[in-house]
């Protein structure tokens, strides 16, 4: 056996050096990425994939087509004729056995008033003796079991659910009309007024953000311009609640605000009120607790920006005759804007997703989007709607946050 040694391909010197350089660069990049690989894989698996599944769940709509495949196929080419009724009964007999009936009934109720009952009524009479009958007789029996089958609403809903993916839940979450009456008209009955819930979420978040900025700005100013021991104490007072458990802080508001709590006790002994005021489970309690919880998040970015504003700027303005307030508002405050904006943005975005505090100290009229996501997941098992609401929440927060964060980063001149 002869060993042939191939001569090294004649490569021009420059080309070889270029290739070496490229190899070295790739090696350097790999070396940098390597330690981060475990986290990237972890995030891809447990953050990116679950969020993708939320998107899929929001647009997935397969209960109807899964339970009524033959009926759906028939409806695609013709209307709700005698044949459709016979196929419906056929499909329902199979659905009863395969466990698809309950999901179907639930999904039909989302789309039609009385949809669940309509499905269950037919399922009850569906059996071998019914299929043996003439199509016309089947039709009569089905309509006798539930008169809704004689109208267009239920059939339209089945036809609309003929695809595995639809915008049904997203439309529902956006507050568009999705529910029909048996006669096929959109119903005026609203089970959840989502636009009102979004508006409430935004109103509460804006109110909390505005209050934290109004309270936080002077606080940040005083903290950032104090030095030495006083400065340390002040920053400690800001950080202390920041590091205390969110749940503990919410609990302390319940203790303070409840009917026989500290606040009512104080108000009554001071003679301001004669009987305990309902403070807990109100909008007031929600906003107050949220402001207290968010205040450190608003103040800390402000402090970090204010600390590096040179005092000489204000001094210069003063020496040129500006009044203290004029110097503050025309020289100091404009330079603090990136910090104010960052603190406000962070607070606003976090407020949009608040769940715990409103759930514990707010009334039924103070619950925000997050509360309904939790409710549809845990109590009503309507994952499609919960996912659609999640998409609206994340989408809304991103739409608001992106341009603002760009504004902050372009106006912060590298201070962050």
């Amino acid at each position: 056996m002869t060993l042939t040694v191939l001569p090294e391909s004649p490569m021009p010197q420059a080309k070889k050096a270029e290739s070496n350089r490229r190899m070295a660069m790739i090696r350097r990049k790999l070396g940098a990425v390597l330690p981060a690989v475990p986290l990237i894989v972890f995030l891809a698996m447990f953050l990116v994939v679950p969020l993708a599944i939320i998107i899929k769940t929001a647009i997935q709509d397969r209960e109807i087509v899964a339970a009524l495949p033959a009926t759906v196929e028939h409806l695609a080419t013709s209307g709700s004729d005698d044949q459709a009724f016979a196929l419906l009964v056929d499909d329902l007999i199979i659905a009863k056995k395969s466990g698809l009936l309950r999901p179907l009934a639930r999904r039909m109720e989302y789309g039609v008033e009385g949809g669940s009952t309509a499905v269950m009524d037919v399922a009850r009479i569906a059996g071998d003796d019914l299929i043996a009958k003439q199509p016309g007789q089947i039709r009569q029996a089905v309509i006798e079991s539930n008169s809704a089958w004689g109208e267009s609403g239920v059939w339209n809903a089945i036809n609309a659910g003929s695809r595995s993916y639809s915008l049904f839940y997203l439309k529902w979450a956006l507050g568009l009309d999705v529910k029909h009456r048996a006669d096929g008209q959109f119903t005026s009955e609203i089970s959840y007024n989502f636009p009102a819930i979004y508006l409430r979420t935004i109103v509460i978040s804006v109110a909390v953000t505005a209050l934290t900025v109004l309270i936080g700005y002077p606080m940040a100013y005083v903290v950032s311009t104090s030095s030495g021991f006083v400065g340390k104490i002040l920053i400690f007072l800001v950080l202390l609640p920041f590091w205390t458990s969110l749940l503990v802080r919410t609990m302390s508001w319940i203790v303070v605000l409840q009917r026989n709590g500290v606040m009512n006790d104080l108000l009554m002994t001071s003679g301001l009120i004669s009987e305990p005021a309902p403070l807990l489970y109100t909008r007031f309690a929600t906003v107050l607790a949220m402001v207290q919880i968010q205040l450190p998040f608003t103040v800390l970015p402000m402090i970090s920006v204010m600390r590096v504003i040179p005092p000489s700027h204000v001094r210069a303005a003063r020496s040129m005759g500006a009044s203290p307030l004029a110097a503050h508002f025309s020289v100091f405050m404009p330079q603090a804007v990136p910090g104010i904006a960052a603190g406000a943005l962070l607070t606003f975005v976090l407020c949009l997703g608040f769940y715990l505090t409103p759930a514990l100290v707010g009334g039924p009229g103070d619950q925000m989007v997050s509360f309904f996501i939790a409710r549809f997941t845990n109590e009503q098992l309507n994952w499609g709607l919960a996912s659609a609401l999640s998409l609206v929440l994340i989408g809304g927060a991103t739409v608001i946050a992106l341009p603002l964060s760009r504004y902050i980063s372009t106006h912060s001149s590298g201070r962050f």
Partner: protein, 266 residues
């Protein structure tokens, strides 16, 4: 009169300003200062003054199997979370401070994003994902979820520490014949240990504190202290819950103090 400080506001502005800031700071601290001592009240009332001081609510807390079980669950989950989050986060930070890292800003944003994501959305996403993996109502499932929430804190603190780390030391170690792992273990880790320690404390506190995700994905076997508190707060507030809150605060602040002491020693 000596030097005149132009930056100073006149007293007529400073006085109301300080008053306002004082009241605001009181708003931050007072609810805690008012609520937590009630755990020492001998009576089940939520007002002052107390008829007598007593430890009866702490006795009730530590005498209850449910509360003790919840506390132990919380500690176990938090320890596992701390280990996972600190390992993943520290390693990732070492990569992320390297200027050769491609798409550095994007990966950083991804690593931080669980902090800004509404917790309920994260809970729902994990709940649906877990239901196909069989991870719902398991210890591992809760630890993974908590790690997801805790890693950003580790990444932020360790990255901040690493930006002050002198990377020529690593090259010096390599020159002296140390392998990459040895250089990391003997040179880098001891120097960035305060940052890693602080990150670990944040990770522990994040997990120890977390309740919303647990409500979604944890079963009765993973009843944590916050979950038990949440249930109690929704049903009937009793001073045992405040005693539990005091215990929570004590454990986390002890950890913070340890972290501070370690950081100072260095």
């Amino acid at each position: 009169m000596s030097t005149r400080r132009y930056a100073d506001l006149p007293l007529s502005i400073r006085f109301p300003l300080y008053l306002f800031v004082g009241i605001s700071l009181a708003l931050l601290i007072l609810p805690l200062a008012a609520a937590l001592p009630i755990s020492f009240n001998s009576a089940p009332w939520f007002t002052y003054p107390f008829p007598d001081l007593s430890l009866r609510w702490f006795k009730a807390l530590f005498g209850s199997e449910i509360w003790i079980g919840a506390l132990l669950n919380s500690v176990g989950i938090a320890l596992a979370t701390t280990f996972l989050a600190t390992t993943l986060g520290t390693l990732a930070s070492i990569g992320l401070v390297n200027s050769n890292f491609p798409l550095r800003r994007f990966v950083m944003a991804l690593a931080i994003s669980p902090m800004l994501m509404p917790v309920v959305v994260l809970g729902l996403a994990l709940f649906i994902f877990y239901s196909s993996l069989g991870l719902n109502y398991t210890f591992m499932g809760v630890v993974i979820a908590h790690t997801l929430m805790a890693t950003p804190f580790v990444v932020i603190t360790v990255t901040a520490t690493l930006t002050r780390f002198d990377f020529t030391l690593m090259r010096a170690a390599a020159n002296l014949g140390a392998g990459k792992v040895a250089a990391f273990k003997d040179i880098m880790l001891p120097l960035i240990a305060p940052g890693v320690g602080a990150g670990a404390v944040f990770a522990f506190a994040t997990s120890f504190d977390e309740v919303v995700i647990v409500l979604f994905i944890a079963g009765p076997g993973q009843r944590t202290l916050p979950k038990q508190m949440f249930t109690g707060l929704r049903e009937q507030l009793d001073p045992t819950i405040i005693a539990a809150a005091v215990t929570m605060v004590l454990i986390t602040s002890l950890l913070m103090l340890v972290a501070l002491a370690v950081a100072r020693k260095r």
